[in-house]
C-alpha cells in the first residue's frame, strides 16, 4: 500500500498504487435540485453503449430515488454498513479544520481501502451484488420517506422548508472516474486503467478475465459483468466524444451522451486540468468554480476514499443528516450558497446543458439589475448578466443571458405556424 493524498478527505490515505495523476480529469456537476427523473440520460446511454446481448441488465447511467431506491438494490446502504461494521462509530469528520487542500475538513474514519487492510485478503472493502439486486433498476421510484415508525403515512406538514418531513430525491449516477478507483485497485490482472489524457477509467477488454473483483470493490457498483463476453464492462465516459473524435464537432471535445441529452439541464461535464496532483487553480473553468471556489457541488460518499469526480449540488429540501452522510460535511454550506446564489453563480448555472461542446472557460458580461427582492429572509438581487462559454480552442460555444429574451410576434404573424 502506498500513501496518496485525497483532498476530499483532507488527508493522506492508503492506496494500492502510488500517486499518479492524469493531465486532465473528466468531471461533472449534477444539480439534483433540477432533476425530474425523466431517464433521458439513462436511455441515451443505453441506446449508445449497452443495447446488445448480454447487456440487458446494464445501466451505466441510472437515476434512482433516494432514500429507498438503488441500482443495484441498496448498494450504498450495504457498503455503509460494511464500513460501520469494520470501524464501529468511527466514520466521522472534523469539519472545523478547513483549508485549500482540505475544503471539507478532515475525515477521521476509514476508507474502503483502509477498512480492508487489516484482514488483508482484499484490496478494498466490498461485496458482489446478487443476481436479484441487479434487477428492477428503478425499484422504489418516487417512494417518499414518511414519518418515522408510521407505515404508508405522509407527514401532515410534509413540505415545509428548510427540511421536508416527507421527502425523496433523485440521485443520478454514472461511473465517477475516480482519482483512486476501487476497481483499478481491485483488479488482480491490472486490466483496468485510468487514461493519462482525461482520467477516464476503462477496462481493457482484452486483458479482463471476468473475475469480477472490480464489480465487488467498486463502491458505486459501476463495473458490471457481461455474462456472454465472460468479462466486465463499465461506463466509458463517452471517450470518443470527450476526445473530440465525434464528427459533429470537428475535433472539438464534446460532453458525454448522458450529459448532452439532459432535458432538465441538470448536468455539466468537462475536463479540469490537474497540476501537482490537485485541480489546477482555474476559476474561469465552470467546474473548478462550482466545486472548488463556490463549493456548491460535492462528491458522492467521499468517505469511501476513491475521490470520485462527479459532484452534486445537494437537494435543498432533504434532512441534513442524510445529506451529510451522502455528501460529507460540506452540505450545509453548499445548500446555503445554492439557495442564496451569488451573482456569479447565477450566471454559471445558466451554462448547464447549453451546448454539446465541453466548456473549458467562461466569461461574464455584466448587465442591468432586473430584480431586487428578498429570498429566504435575505436580500436578493438579479442582474441580467450574459455568460459566454468557450470550447477547447477558445472559440465561443454558447452565450446566454440570465433573463430569457422575450420576443413579441408582430400583428401580421399572430396566427402563423
Amino acid at each position: 500500500m502506498a500513501k496518496v493524498y485525497n483532498w476530499q478527505l483532507g488527508r493522506e490515505m492508503d492506496y494500492r498504487f502510488p500517486e499518479a495523476h492524469p493531465q486532465w480529469q473528466f468531471a461533472a456537476v449534477f444539480n439534483i435540485n433540477r432533476c425530474i427523473a425523466c431517464q433521458t440520460c439513462t436511455m441515451a446511454c443505453k441506446s449508445t453503449w449497452t443495447f446488445s446481448r448480454g447487456q440487458e441488465f446494464m445501466w451505466w447511467n441510472n437515476v434512482e430515488t433516494k432514500p429507498y431506491g438503488g441500482y443495484p438494490h441498496h448498494w450504498d446502504v450495504k457498503l455503509l454498513q460494511l464500513l460501520e461494521e469494520a470501524n464501529p462509530g468511527g466514520q466521522v469528520w472534523n469539519g472545523a479544520q478547513q483549508g485549500d487542500r482540505q475544503p471539507y475538513g478532515i475525515y477521521q474514519g476509514q476508507t474502503i481501502f483502509e477498512a480492508a487492510a487489516e484482514a488483508g485478503n482484499e484490496t478494498a472493502l466490498g461485496y458482489l451484488p446478487t443476481e436479484q439486486e441487479w434487477t428492477a433498476p428503478n425499484l422504489y421510484e418516487d417512494t417518499a420517506k414518511g414519518p418515522q415508525g408510521a407505515r404508508n403515512k405522509l407527514h401532515s406538514e410534509g413540505t415545509r422548508l428548510p427540511e421536508h418531513n416527507t421527502w425523496f430525491f433523485y440521485l443520478q449516477r454514472i461511473c465517477n472516474h475516480c482519482t483512486y478507483p476501487g476497481c483499478v485497485a481491485a483488479c488482480p490482472r491490472n486490466a483496468i486503467y485510468k487514461r493519462p489524457e482525461d482520467g477516464i477509467v476503462l477496462i481493457d477488454q482484452e486483458r479482463c478475465r471476468g473475475y469480477r473483483k472490480c464489480v465487488e470493490q467498486c463502491p458505486y457498483k459501476k463495473s458490471m459483468y457481461r455474462p456472454n463476453m465472460r468479462v466486465s464492462e463499465k461506463c466509458v465516459g463517452c471517450y470518443p466524444r470527450v476526445e473530440g473524435s465525434d464528427p459533429l464537432t470537428k475535433g472539438i471535445p464534446m460532453e458525454a451522451r448522458c450529459m448532452a441529452t439532459c432535458v432538465g439541464k441538470i448536468r455539466m461535464q468537462g475536463l479540469v486540468r490537474i497540476e501537482d496532483g490537485d485541480w489546477a487553480e482555474d476559476a474561469s473553468n465552470p467546474l473548478y468554480y462550482l466545486v472548488r471556489k463556490e463549493r456548491v457541488a460535492l462528491p458522492l460518499y467521499p468517505q469511501f476514499g476513491t475521490e470520485p469526480n462527479i459532484y452534486y449540488i445537494p437537494p435543498r429540501w432533504v434532512p441534513r443528516p442524510y445529506l451529510r452522510q451522502m455528501f460529507g460535511p460540506g452540505v450545509d454550506e453548499a445548500i446555503d450558497r445554492y439557495t442564496n446564489p451569488s451573482r456569479e453563480l447565477q450566471a454559471v448555472l445558466q451554462l448547464f446543458r447549453a451546448s454539446q461542446k465541453i466548456i473549458f472557460r467562461y466569461e461574464i458580461e455584466e448587465g442591468e439589475k432586473v430584480l431586487d427582492t428578498e429570498i429566504n429572509g435575505r436580500p436578493f438581487q438579479m442582474y441580467n448578466d450574459t455568460v459566454i462559454g468557450f470550447d477547447k480552442e477558445g472559440n465561443e460555444a454558447v452565450r446566454l443571458s440570465l433573463e430569457e429574451p422575450f420576443h413579441v410576434r408582430s400583428e401580421q404573424y399572430q396566427n402563423s405556424i
Binding site: 446481448r53 484490496t123 490482472r189 491490472n190 479482463c208 473475475y211 469480477r212 457481461r226 456472454n228 463476453m229
Partner: protein
C-alpha cells in the same frame, strides 16, 4: 526375570530396525511412492505404450502411472487471498510425443457455468518454469527473470465446447427482448472483437495456455497448444491435460531423461473461488522417464502389502531367534 518372558538383546533390536528400514525403503523405491514434503516430491511421467485418451481421464491406462499426493494450501501472499487446505492426486505419462498430466481432487459440486452475476466455474491449473534448470521461479506466478507457463482448465469452457456456447438465453430461458440493434456487428461485442479468448464462442480447447512473470502479469499466450478434459464423478474431479513435448522455447520444455518443476492449483466455483482465491501447491519435481509404464493397476498396493508383511515376518523371526538364544 522369568524364563517365559520374551527378551531381546539391544543388539538384536538394532539389527531388526535396520533390516526393517531397508526393506521398507527398497519397497518404496520399487513402488515409486514418495513420502517427503511437497518440495521434494517427484512426479514421474513414464512412457506409455498404450494410447492415452484425451477425453477420458478415467481411462485404464492411468492405472499404469504412479500416483503422488500433493498438499495444497490457501494462496495468502497477495490479495485477493483465499482457497484452503486440500490434497490433489497427480499422475503423469508420456508417449514420446505428448506429455499427459492427470489431476484428481475432491469437490462436492460440479460448477460449470459463469453465466449469472455471482456464478463461478470450477477450475484447475498446472504451472511449469518456461526454462527448466537450477533457477526455479517463484511458485507464485513466477518472477520477471524466470517466467512460468500455466495451463488453466475451466469447467465452463469445457461446457461451452460440449454443450455449445452458453449465452444469455441459455442461462435465462424465459427472457424476452424485443430487438438487439446491430446484432451482427462485431464491435458491439468488444471483448470478442479484440480477441479475448474468454469471449470466444468457438473454443477449440478447454485449457488456456498462459504465461506469467509475477503477480498480475498472467497473459494469454499466442499459441493455444494445450488440450484437456475434466470429468466430475461422485464428488471429485478427474482432469487430464495434454501437450506436445516439443512446442518451441516460448513454453515449458519437456524431454525424456530430463526434469522440470510442476505446481498445481484448484478453484472451487461454488465458493466463489477465482483468480488469487485458490488452493496452490509448491513446486514438485516432474521427471520425464524413458522407462515404460507397466500395466497392473494394483502393483503399488501389492508391493506395499508384501513389504509390510515381510517386515512383520522378519521381526517375528528375529524375535523368536533372539528368544531361543536367550533360552539356549
Amino acid at each position: 526375570m522369568g524364563g517365559g518372558e520374551l527378551r531381546i538383546t539391544a543388539g538384536w533390536t538394532v539389527a531388526g530396525i535396520i533390516a526393517l528400514a531397508l526393506i521398507v525403503s527398497v519397497g518404496l523405491t520399487l513402488s515409486d511412492m514418495r513420502l517427503a514434503s511437497s518440495q521434494t516430491i517427484t512426479l514421474v511421467a513414464k512412457r506409455s505404450e498404450v494410447e492415452v485418451p484425451l477425453d477420458d481421464p478415467f481411462a485404464r491406462v492411468w492405472n499404469r502411472a504412479n500416483p503422488v499426493e500433493a498438499p495444497l494450501s490457501a494462496q495468502n501472499i497477495t490479495p485477493p487471498k483465499g482457497g484452503g487446505d486440500r490434497t490433489i492426486t497427480a499422475r503423469a505419462l508420456h508417449d514420446g510425443e505428448r506429455l499427459y498430466i492427470l489431476m484428481e481432487w475432491d469437490d462436492d459440486s460440479e460448477d460449470l457455468l459463469v453465466s449469472r452475476q455471482a456464478e463461478f466455474s470450477d477450475a484447475a491449473a498446472v504451472q511449469f518454469p518456461v526454462a527448466p534448470g537450477e533457477n526455479v521461479p517463484a511458485f507464485c506466478m513466477g518472477d520477471p527473470t524466470s517466467p512460468v507457463n500455466i495451463w488453466q482448465w475451466k469447467a465452463a469452457w469445457q461446457a461451452d465446447m460440449e454443450q455449445g456456447f452458453v449465452d444469455v438465453q441459455d442461462a435465462y430461458p424465459d427472457m424476452q427482448v424485443d430487438l438487439y440493434p446491430f446484432e451482427e456487428e462485431a464491435e458491439f461485442y468488444p471483448a470478442r472483437a479484440v480477441g479475448n479468448v474468454f469471449a470466444q464462442d468457438d473454443r477449440t480447447t478447454a485449457v488456456d495456455n498462459l504465461l506469467a512473470g509475477s503477480f498480475g502479469t498472467l497473459t494469454q499466450a499466442p499459441d493455444q497448444v494445450v488440450q484437456g478434459t475434466g470429468v466430475w464423478r461422485d464428488g471429485s474431479w478427474r482432469l487430464v491435460f495434454a501437450r506436445d513435448l516439443n512446442v518451441g522455447e516460448d513454453y515449458s520444455q519437456f524431454a525424456e531423461e530430463e526434469s522440470t518443476n510442476i505446481a498445481f492449483a484448484v478453484w472451487d466455483g461454488a465458493r466463489g473461488e477465482r483468480d488469487g482465491i485458490k488452493s496452490v501447491s509448491q513446486f514438485l519435481t516432474l521427471e520425464v522417464s524413458p522407462d515404460v509404464a507397466e500395466p497392473g493397476g494394483g502393483v503399488t498396493v501389492w508391493i506395499i502389502v508384501v513389504v509390510v508383511l515381510g517386515a512383520v515376518a522378519l521381526t517375528l523371526v528375529l524375535a523368536l531367534y533372539g528368544r531361543q538364544r536367550q533360552n539356549g
